[in-house]
């Protein structure tokens, strides 16, 4: 088995049973890193190092030797995403699982209404607007 493996921003050291996560601080602020790290304190030892402006290094050493390092690292990345996204403006309720947007559009477009159906309720009888026996131009001339 390989002693080390690199996957994206994860450097896995199987021999010494720890991993290093390289974090881009322009995407994930230090606050986000702290929040993510706190969720792992019960199952791993974490050390934060590096350069807060260029590259934040998080060393994660699981407390249990049999832990899956890759899964641990990927779970940490997911936590970074979660806390970073929480800082983004909320645009809509994301409680539903992702589904095809194209399917949503096709369902909404299935009932098209024309002006005759008067969907906004703004239609008024001709007589109400222009009176009996006249059109708008006649009334303006008089």
């Amino acid at each position: 088995m390989k002693e080390q493996k690199i996957i994206n921003n994860l450097q896995l050291n199987f021999d010494k049973n720890f991993l290093i996560v390289s974090v881009n601080p322009k995407i994930y602020s230090l606050d986000v890193v702290y929040s993510a790290a706190k969720g792992f304190l019960d199952k791993a030892y974490l050390v934060i190092d590096g350069d807060p402006k260029n590259e934040i290094i998080v060393e994660i050493k699981p407390k249990k030797k049999a832990s899956d390092l890759e899964t641990l690292g990927r779970d940490f990345n997911n936590e970074l995403i979660r806390f970073a996204a929480d800082k983004a403006p909320q645009r809509q309720d994301l409680s539903e699982k992702p589904k095809s947007v194209s399917k949503q559009f096709s369902e909404e477009d299935s009932e098209e209404m024309s002006y005759i159906d008067d969907p906004l309720g703004i239609a008024r009888p001709w007589e109400e607007v222009y009176g009996k026996g006249g059109d708008k131009q006649d009334r303006q001339r008089s």
Partner: protein, 83 residues
């Protein structure tokens, strides 16, 4: 360049998202939504191109489909896009 690059070894889909067209916050919110069913990694330059890696937690999903669904989801979130 493929819109969705597939890494068969690691079973990942990789996307390069241009932030001139796709809003950064929407990308993050989408990543959060996808984090339920995938392991997600976002990196790159928020003023230029973001790299998004998606690894489904389940092995029965098409990587290409996951990638394209991500693009669609971001577009769906983007406020005022096309309105």
């Amino acid at each position: 360049m493929e819109r969705v690059e597939i890494n068969k070894t690691d079973r990942e889909a990789r996307l390069s998202i241009d932030t001139r067209f796709y809003d950064y916050d929407s990308v993050l919110l989408t990543a959060k939504a996808f984090a339920e069913s995938c392991w997600v990694y976002v990196d790159g330059d928020i003023n230029s191109k973001l790299m998004v890696c998606l690894k489904p937690k389940s092995g029965e999903v098409s990587l290409e489909e996951v990638g394209y669904e991500f693009y669609n989801y971001v577009l769906g979130l983007m406020k005022n896009a096309g309105e």
